[in-house]
């Protein structure tokens, strides 16, 4: 019976273009868009040209360090013009006397302005100060107990799991919609009239979506790894186990939505809001690492955050094992049990 239910739900899904798009295509679009918007780690794309005009010929500014190239400008005003029109992110004007002028839009977003301002300031200081050979003063290292991260972290390390979790949890809406539509159409009555135990009718409705959810995550992570160069630093077994826990949790959340959500229309209007807020709190759209502490701990009330913490470890930290993901997997299973218990408590067969 469960095999027939899986077949039926897969057939239904294959005929439902909208649902297919939202399960498979939409997350890919999000991954790509966010993946090309955010930059993490040393890979910052092509170096940016910085227009420089120097009124002090004795001062040579050949290099501005990693990420920038020097672009000689004919005049100080040419530098200011290039920045004012937005052609260049920043420029340098070195007057014959007095301080060097860093031309930059001070109203620009701090995320863009800050790093540029810092890097150029340092470059100018290096160029102006006499070169003194110095030993390395500082070297960044992860503390013991935290596995070594990958050497280069591309944005897809973050946007693939972020969107996989966000859209993976949308499975719960599909589950709830299925219950509601089977009730409305009367196919649920047929199921109850058949010689099938009621628990099996319930499981038979949930299991197909567990399977579909697994296919969805396999597709998204597969595409991330093969298509977008997302690396898996830790154990693949751990990644699979974590993903199974995510799908289980989403399926159980679907049961809860089905029990309290009402009709298809009601579910269709409330579930997306709930899921988006959960995704936002959980760091699916904006990484929790960058959130203030309060938001970081608030995120723990939704399963998404636990899932993403786990994914970050297994994708970015080398040598992450199944045991290292125990807190994430445990939390997800805990949420799943909670959702299932609440869902079963409120579920009405008739």
């Amino acid at each position: 019976m469960i095999g027939a239910a899986i077949l039926k739900d897969v057939q239904l899904l294959l005929r439902d273009r909208g649902r297919l798009l939202s399960l498979f295509a939409l997350p890919v679009v999000f991954m790509v868009v966010f993946g090309s918007m955010f930059k993490f780690g040393p890979d910052r794309g092509a170096p940016r040209p910085i227009p420089v005009w120097s009124g002090r010929p004795e001062l040579h500014l050949d290099s501005l360090g990693e990420g920038f190239t020097v672009e000689p400008a004919p005049s100080a005003d040419a530098v200011r013009h290039a920045v004012a029109t937005g052609d260049r992110v920043a420029g340098l004007v070195i007057p014959p006397t007095g301080p060097v002028e860093l031309v930059i839009d001070l109203a620009g977003p701090v995320q863009v302005r800050g790093p540029v301002q810092g890097a150029l300031t340092a470059a100018v200081m290096r160029a102006l100060a006499p070169p003194i050979p110095m030993p390395a003063l500082i070297e960044a290292k992860s503390p013991p107990g935290i596995a070594k991260p990958l050497d280069s972290i591309s944005a897809f390390q973050v946007t693939v799991p972020g969107n996989a979790v966000l859209f993976g949890f949308f499975l719960s809406m599909t589950v709830a919609m299925t219950f509601a539509s089977e009730r409305r159409s009367g196919t649920w009555r047929r199921l109850l009239a058949a010689p099938v135990p009621r628990w099996k009718a319930l499981v038979g409705t949930l299991v197909p979506y567990f399977v579909i959810g697994c296919v969805q995550l396999a597709f998204l992570f597969g595409l991330g790894a093969l298509g977008f160069g997302m690396q898996i630093a830790g154990s693949v077994v751990a990644l699979v186990a974590l993903s199974l826990a995510v799908v289980l949790c989403a399926t159980c959340l679907g049961l809860l939505f089905a029990s309290v959500g009402g009709t298809e229309k009601q579910i269709g209007s409330t579930a997306p809001v709930v899921l988006l807020v959960m995704g936002l709190l959980g760091g699916c759209m904006f990484p929790r690492i960058a959130m203030p502490d309060f938001m970081k701990s608030l995120g723990h009330v939704v399963p998404h955050s636990w899932a993403l913490d786990g994914y970050y470890d297994v994708l970015v930290r080398q040598g992450t094992s199944l045991a290292d993901l125990a807190p994430s997997i445990g939390a997800l299973c805990g949420f799943a049990a909670l959702f299932a218990a609440l869902g079963l408590w409120r579920f009405r067969f008739e």
């Binding site: 095999g3 039926k8 005929r15 439902d16 409305r184 047929r190 009239a193 008739e350």
Partner: protein, 297 residues
């Protein structure tokens, strides 16, 4: 074939079905008639194990539903009032799924019975209303049940498809299937059913063959419409045994019509129309429930 004993259902304060006793004989077609909200669907749902009764018991083919639900349910096929099929799937895919619920793989028979074999692989959403209804019936037939329960199978169906469904039910009956047929259409029940149960306000108010019900509850009579001083005429007629419904007067068969007519004329009224009243299930139903079968129309 189906035995209901004291079967009832409460939804909170509201009693949908009081306490129904009913024996459906093997091989018969039993009609279940009743106005909207009479409790037909609720009764059927309890008989099929879809709704848990508040009180009473159900046995299907001698097997108690409460103690052996799977054995009992396997004998019964339900055709719900709503179109309970997956519109995006084909007829074949639908029947395979519903067949699997009964561990049946052979769905060809059901397709043939409803005459949908040549459209079997098309998505159901392309079907006409009548074809969807036929598939709805086929989905209740896949496991060749001993007892088929049809809840208003012809709602919203064109006359041609309705005839098709009719013939299907007759053919199944001829093969020995027991059928419970719920309908809003008196003609259907009269044409199809051996016995009729009339439900109203959650109770069966009459049960018998159509002949018995008519003889008992729908005596022949005469219907009059008055003109002139209709008020006074009607009062005089009521004194002579008529029942009154506005300007319409009804006399039961055997009423002293001559004396009544004289009294009506003496009161200053004239007879605008006179008609002999047909005794049929419709009048029996009206007599029993005080309501027409359909709210609308």
């Amino acid at each position: 074939m189906l035995t209901l004993r004291g079967l009832g259902k409460d939804y909170g304060e509201r009693t949908a079905v009081k306490a129904v006793d009913l024996d459906v004989v093997r091989g018969e077609i039993l009609g279940l008639l009743g106005p909207n909200g009479a409790g037909k669907t609720t009764t059927i749902s309890m008989a099929c194990g879809v709704v848990t009764p508040t009180r009473g018991s159900v046995a299907i083919g001698g097997v108690a539903l409460a103690s052996e639900p799977f054995a009992a349910k396997a004998k019964l096929g339900l055709v719900p009032q709503d179109l309970a099929v997956f519109e995006e799937l084909s007829a074949l895919q639908n029947l395979r799924y519903f067949g699997a619920l009964y561990r049946t793989r052979d769905v060809e028979w059901a397709l043939d019975v409803v005459g949908l074999r040549d459209r079997a692989t098309e998505p159901v959403k392309n079907f006409s209303g009548g074809m969807k209804r036929r598939l709805n019936i086929a989905a209740g037939l896949v496991h060749r049940p001993e007892l088929l329960v049809l809840d208003e199978p012809t709602v919203g169906v064109d006359p041609q498809s309705r005839n098709h469904i009719f013939e299907t039910v007759k053919a199944l009956h001829a093969q020995g299937m027991t059928v419970i047929y719920t309908s809003h259409y008196m003609e259907e029940v009269e044409a199809l059913c051996d016995r009729v149960a009339i439900m109203d306000h959650g109770a069966i108010v009459a049960l018998g063959t159509i002949g018995e019900l008519i003889a008992k509850h729908a005596g022949q009579g005469v219907e009059l419409e008055l003109a002139g001083n209709a008020e006074a005429g009607a009062a005089a007629a009521v004194a002579h045994g008529a029942t009154r419904d506005g300007a319409l007067l009804r006399f039961p068969a055997g009423a002293p019509l001559g004396a009544a007519l004289a009294a009506i004329e003496a009161a200053g009224a004239t007879v605008a129309r006179i008609e002999s009243r047909q005794a049929n299930l419709e009048t029996a139903f009206l007599a029993l429930t005080g309501r027409a079968l359909r709210d609308t129309e």
